[in-house]
């Protein structure tokens, strides 16, 4: 499993390097057209890649078999290969998009950091790279989630009780009382999932319209609304990302989960401590599914 993750990351890097190379070679071509040293925008010249990404992702998801969580040698298989791929494609895409988005600024709100056609051309092209990854990751996730029927795992169920659990959880963090018995996903994750889902959908939709505008004449009024929506959503998702990164990677008690995003496995003790509800669920089931070779492989690989 770890090896595969590494391969996935390396593949992403290879894609990035390839695009950067393409961008570099393109700058010579446009200089001849009179634009001062500006690289050709990949949003213009390679928009097809953005359109290809969702279909490629759906196609790939069609060949993906998801695995159910289970206990393997005092560890729990939390993230299967598909989860790891979709998470990191999505994460890499988001980070690249947010970074290049900040560099490009938000009209009338966040001043640009890049100036000059070369610098902002590079920023646009990096944004493009992020877009391809993000679209792929998003659609791959959507395809997988749609087919596996796992959407309900994420959605908030009972907002009131979730809120109480969140309150108890953070009281425990502050040293007051005991951690509540949380499930596979924390109550806070259930509550915030809609923000991520709706935000991602909006940013995808508006982003795709913006890409479409490179080939088609879309009315100014609509584009104004699209851009505004894109910008606001980007700010919301940016803040969400910060919260997600803090809760999921920065605080020490999340590190086992972060590790599992690379290896797929979390220690059983950790699950018992932090996800008591899920632990009960896992231990009450009897399952090795002997036919699942991939799970075995994952277990031995880690």
């Amino acid at each position: 499993m770890g090896r595969r993750s590494i391969v996935a990351v390396l593949l992403s890097l290879a894609v990035a390097a390839g695009v950067l190379l393409a961008l570099k070679s393109a700058s010579a071509a446009t200089a001849a057209l009179g634009i001062r040293g500006a690289p050709r925008l990949l949003f213009d010249s390679a928009a097809w890649a953005v359109w290809l990404a969702p279909f490629a992702a759906l196609f790939a998801s069609g060949f993906t078999r998801r695995q159910e969580p289970r206990i393997i040698d005092r560890q729990v298989l939390r993230h299967d290969d598909a989860a790891i791929l979709q998470h990191w494609a999505h994460a890499a895409g988001t980070l690249i998009l947010v970074g290049s988005g900040i560099a490009l600024g938000i009209r009338g709100f966040l001043p640009r950091l890049v100036a000059g056609t070369y610098a902002d051309g590079v920023a646009f092209n990096i944004h493009f790279l992020g877009a391809v990854l993000f679209v792929f990751g998003s659609f791959y996730y959507a395809g997988n989630t749609l087919m596996s029927g796992r959407l309900s795992e994420h959605l908030p169920h009972d907002v009131g009780s979730s809120l109480r659990v969140v309150a108890a959880h953070y009281s425990a963090v502050l040293g007051k009382g005991k951690f509540p018995a949380e499930g596979k996903y924390f109550a806070s994750e259930h509550l915030t999932y809609p923000i991520a889902a709706v935000g991602s959908t909006l940013i995808l939709l508006t982003g795709l319209i913006k890409v479409a505008a490179h080939g088609a004449n879309i009315p100014g009024g609509l584009m104004g609304a699209v851009t505004l929506t894109h910008d606001i959503t980007a700010v919301v998702l940016g803040l969400y990302l910060v919260a997600h990164a803090v809760a999921g990677a920065l605080v020490p008690w999340s590190w086992p989960l972060l590790r599992s995003m690379l290896t797929g496995l979390v220690p059983l003790d950790y699950v018992r401590e932090h996800h008591a509800g899920w632990y009960r669920e896992l231990t009450s089931q009897t399952r090795p599914e002997p036919d699942d070779e991939a799970a075995k492989h994952a277990a031995t690989a880690s």
Partner: protein
């Protein structure tokens, strides 16, 4: 998993995979197809149906054009929002003390090409002027930076936070006159010297094609201003002025003092 859910799952899976596969095929096919069918795709940009010409030797630097430009487009006067920039330095000798920097409505507009969103575009509804749709502008300023002239003729509106450029007054909500290539331009209308003029012909694509002599057919000579293309007096102007001065001197010598 029951048989039923499995079946349902397969149906869903087949659908998703099918959509993905078909889409992949369509996009890739389209890509390959278009590269074969349109091997020499040229961006045909229609020429603007109007151009501003200036005469930098005639301009008196009153900046009326700048204030008018900003006023008819934005309802407020401003130097920085003017799409024509009269840059002057009173301490440089004539005729180099004034530049009239107007947009050239380039046949191949770098600003339009540089725009990532189509905001800076060729407006086919208004005589193909190269202009910015502020609603589509994301404020990246690529057009501002892409303009090959200095100061850049595509400019940044720092109040409304978008790029803008000369549209030959096609969109002038604060003016009762009809603008655009088929109408009037506020800079020309407000210029007391008529040191800006309009033409439908594509000018020669050099500085001299846009900075022309507009002094030959109007009252410039009568005002005693130089008529030469280089901004100097013509020989006949100098000769005539000297003859007149000599005649006046002779007359005042002859006349009795009061």
């Amino acid at each position: 998993m029951t048989e039923e859910t499995k079946k349902k799952d397969y149906t869903r899976r087949e659908f998703v995979t099918g959509v993905g596969g078909l889409g992949l095929g369509a996009v890739l096919g389209g890509l390959v197809g278009s590269s074969f069918l349109l091997p020499d795709k040229v961006l045909a940009i229609p020429a603007s149906q109007g151009y501003l010409l200036v005469d930098t030797k005639k301009c008196v630097g009153c900046d009326s054009c700048m204030l008018a430009c900003s006023l008819v487009h934005h309802g407020s006067t401003s130097f920085s929002n003017s799409r024509i920039q009269i840059v002057q330095n009173p301490f440089v000798t004539f005729p180099n003390d004034i530049e009239q920097n107007q947009c050239r409505q380039c046949p191949y507009p770098a600003c339009v090409d540089a725009c990532p969103t189509g905001a800076n575009h060729v407006d086919t509804a208004h005589g193909n002027v190269r202009t910015v749709d502020p609603a589509k502008c994301i404020g990246c300023e690529r057009c501002v930076n892409a303009c090959p002239f200095t100061p850049s003729r595509a400019l940044w509106n720092s109040q409304e936070k978008h790029a803008q450029k000369c549209d030959l007054c096609a969109e002038t909500p604060y003016w009762n006159e009809k603008g655009g290539p088929g109408g009037k331009q506020a800079c020309i209308e407000s210029c007391p010297m008529k040191a800006i003029s309009f033409t439908k012909e594509v000018p020669v694509q050099k500085d001299a094609g846009y900075d022309v002599n507009l002094r030959k057919t109007d009252g410039t000579a009568e005002l005693g201003l130089p008529l030469g293309d280089d901004g100097k007096y013509t020989k006949s102007q100098v000769d005539a002025a000297r003859a007149a001065a000599a005649a006046m001197a002779a007359a005042s010598k002859a006349a009795p003092k009061h």
